[in-house]
Structures are given as structure tokens and as C-alpha cells.
């Protein structure tokens, strides 16, 4: 029910960074299995719009907060280690069903089962947003047409629970924007020491 309603009411933005930031090591290095901070307040205020990270983390919030079961966020493979062409999928919101190239995808897991309110299967089976689908068989077949490079290797292996914040989003940091407010909460992929 939560997954279905998220897919019906959320707005997938097409796949660009929105209301999450990776937890890095303070030296500007982001591990490929980085956990992340989720800026829940900003996600809600923006009309439930975001990319897969936001949808997965929000679903984890919903499922865990009602005490349904211990859900976690997980990605298709370690960050930077792969990219794949999707099957035809129907994103949450108004974007049209399409087959697209993703450098990763993030979803919600419990054990080896997946819930995903970010998309609905069109060509994959069963049709609709994935609910309790076996991650490495049914979910994989419905999501992935083929890997462009790298391979399916869910990461981090045991998943992660995002840090949930009602704070303002930090700016993205870079070598030339070292003084963006990274203090304590949320680090961009290139963020220097806080």
C-alpha cells in the first residue's frame, strides 16, 4: 500500500541529485558503498519530487516508522562501478514510460525482497510498482534490460538506513567550493574536510 501510494503521489525527476547527500570520509572521498543523508523536510516541501535515492529513502522512512518491518536502502551496484539500460518502466508521476540508461538505481529491501515506489514495471512482470519482489530474479528481470558496463552487485551488501534530517540542504562541495556549509550533516561527493 505504501509503495503503491508513493508511486501514485510522487514525482520522479528523471534521475538527478535532489534531496540526499552521501556520507563521505571528511577527506573528500566518498566510498562506493556510501550511506547517505536524506533531507525529508525538503523532499516533502518540494511536492515529493526527487530521484531514486529520495524515493527509496522515503519508503524506508514510511515502512520503518509504522513498525511494519526493518527495511533498508540499497543500490544495484557500488557507486561508479556500473551502468545499465532499463526495461521499459513507468516512473512515478507524469514522466512517460521509457527505457533509460542509469548509472545506478536505489530501492528499498527487506531480506532479499524489493519494494520500489519510484517506478512501475511495464514490460516486466508483475506489472506495477515492485512490491516484495525477489531482488536477484524477478526484480532484476523487470528492471534491467542489460548492463552497459559492470554487473548487478547490490550495494552495500547489507543495505543501509539513511540519516533522516529536517535541516536545510547543504550546498554541493567541490575543489573550488570548499567553504560550502558541509558542517556536520551531508557531504557532497567531492567535499573536503568539514
Amino acid at each position: 500500500m505504501l509503495t503503491q501510494r508513493l508511486w501514485e503521489n510522487g514525482e520522479y525527476n528523471g534521475g538527478y541529485t535532489a534531496y540526499t547527500r552521501y556520507v563521505c570520509d571528511g577527506q573528500g572521498n566518498c566510498p562506493s558503498d556510501a550511506s547517505e543523508y536524506f533531507y525529508l523536510k525538503k523532499f516533502i516541501e518540494s511536492g515529493f519530487q526527487g530521484q531514486c535515492n529520495d524515493f527509496a529513502d522515503f519508503l524506508v522512512c514510511l515502512i520503518n516508522s509504522i513498525g511494519a518491518f526493518q527495511s533498508l536502502s540499497q543500490r544495484t551496484h557500488p557507486l561508479g562501478s556500473g551502468a545499465f539500460r532499463t526495461q521499459v518502466i513507468d516512473p512515478a508521476g507524469s514522466l512517460q514510460p521509457d527505457s533509460v540508461d542509469w548509472s545506478y538505481h536505489q530501492f528499498c529491501i527487506h531480506g532479499n525482497d524489493v519494494w520500489d515506489g519510484c517506478l512501475a514495471f511495464v514490460t516486466g512482470s508483475p506489472a506495477g510498482p515492485p512490491k516484495k519482489l525477489s531482488r536477484d530474479t524477478i526484480y532484476y528481470d523487470g528492471l534491467v534490460a542489460y548492463y552497459i558496463f559492470g554487473a548487478w552487485n547490490p550495494s552495500p551488501p547489507s543495505g543501509f538506513i539513511p540519516g533522516v534530517y529536517a535541516l536545510e540542504l547543504p550546498q554541493w562541495c567541490s575543489q573550488t567550493n570548499r567553504n560550502a556549509p558541509c558542517r556536520g550533516t551531508g557531504y557532497g561527493p567531492n567535499c573536503p574536510s568539514p
Binding site: 552521501y22 515529493f48 530521484q51 508521476g93 554541493w172
Partner: protein, 332 residues
Amino acid sequence: MKDINLLTVLASLLMAWLYLVGQTISVPPGTEVRQGGILARNKGTVRSLGLTAQDMLDLIYAEDEIPGFDCVPHPLTGHHTVIDLDIWGDRPGKGQEGIYSRILRMWNLHTRNPRLDIECWIYSSPEGPKSWFQALLDPRASSASTMFRRGSYSGLPLGDACLRLPHANALFFRLGSIGVRAQVFGPPESDGLFVEALAWGIEYRIRLHPKRLLGMAQKPVTLLVTNKPFGQGKVISLAGVTVAPLSTLEPAQVALETKRTKMEWMVTARRNGQWVKVKAFSWEMETDKGKVKLERPVFPYKGELVVPLRQVSEALGISVQQKGQTIALLPK
């Protein structure tokens, strides 16, 4: 007597309406305000970029300025516009370093779908939007990073730099310390050029902004019609093409007729038997001699349509002479 009472009531209603329409949003530092579908908060208790909520609203289209789209509160959040002033301005720091302000306004076609978003961030330095662009193109941060394309949908140079995400009808540009996202979530009512037309209107607003957001970089254009200056401050160059509100042509004996409904905003300009029809967010104009592709799209600004000045003037039989930053319209 009854007539006098009726007039009094009507006058009171008019005054109340004028009060509501003219009301500006005041958001003192450390407060949050909800007003007419707008959620605004000000974090600048310690440091500030010096911008007000009205400054942020000046960057973006008014609620009723995009024909076919309604700006109504989101059914789950209760607002259609979010204004964040001086984010991180509640923490001590060096000058304005690290502070930013943001406005997001959401429209919907008829009902909920598809949705149209315009979002602007104002940072304390150009490094802010540059870092955002890096994140958009980073395959670790944006899952569709490989689907981004550099440049605008038309190929014209929007802002200092521009990115597009075609499958999501999104356009991102940065100009000075400002980052902008314009996006329509889904066809068939939209396409990339419509989104880009929206974005050109935002660049116009940035360049015209009363707080001079680009510093001294924006050179004013002086428009002379029969040797008298007109349209001061509203005539500017957008990447080499001068644009101006249609009303700047009126002193050159141009008559304007506006047809504005919820679905369409069209203006017909007539002069000496010649005519031009332009529509909000269109890339072409109709003339008495046929359709003409425009060098810049038509977009609304404060109740008027802004058009490429030379093309529209010449179609109405007005010759245009430019010398430096001065443009003279010479009615034939």
C-alpha cells in the same frame, strides 16, 4: 440611496481586493510564513545575502503567467511555492560564504498532471551553481547523469552554461551566482523548446532584477523611439539579441490588442496595415506575410509579452538602427 450603498460596498470590495493583490510577503529573519499558497522562511538571523521574499518572487513567473497551467496548492503539502531565504544564514561564518536562497514554484496542467517546476538558487558566489552542475553530471550523484546533454534544446547560449535532460523535459542553466531548473514532467503538452522558452524568461528576470544580481555585468540598452527614450530598464540583450516588451513599440504608432485566457496569451500588433501576432512561449510569430521563426522565444513579464525587438519591429515596417548600447526605432 440604494445605488450609493451598492457603490460603497463595491468600493470596499475593490479596496479589499487591492489590498490582497498588492500585499507583499514579509518574512523577518528566523520566521516562517504561509500566505496564499506560498511557504516562505528566513534563516538569516546571523548572516544574509540581503534578498527579500519579493526579490525571490521577482525571479519567477507569476502564478497566472503560464497559459494552460494552474498554480494551485499541492494537495498533500498545501502550497505551490517555497521560498527559502539565507539558508545556513543562522550559523556564523565568513561574510556571505556558504549562504544561499532558493525559490521553487510548481504549476499543474488542469489537474495534477503533468507538473511544471521552476526553481532558482542564488548563491554567494558562482562556485555554488558550478558545483551543482558537477553533481548533476556525476554518475555517483545523479543516476541519469549519462543522459544529460550540454547546451540548450535550441542550441542557443542560455546563461553562462546550460544542461538539458531530454527524456525528462528538464533544462538547467547557471548565470553568475544563480542556478536555475525548469522542467515539465511529461509530454504531450510540453517539449524541450517550451521548457527553454520558460528558461529564457527567467534569464530576462535575472538580468533585469532590481538587486542587480549580476553586478555591473549587465549593460543597459537605451531605446529611442522618434528620438525619445522608452522602455528604460526593460530593454536588454539576451545573448546578443535585444528583447523588449511589446509596449515599447506603441510610441511608433503600433496598436496592441491582447487576447488573454487561461489557455492562451496572444497579442496582435498592428501598424499601417501590417500586423504581427505573437503568443506566450512561442518561437515563431505570424505576420501579414506569413510565419517567421524568432531568434528568441516570446515570454511574459509583468503583464506584457517580451519579444525580439528587431524582428517584430521590422515586420511592422519600423527600421532599427543600433549603435553600441543605443537602439533607435525609425518608423518608415
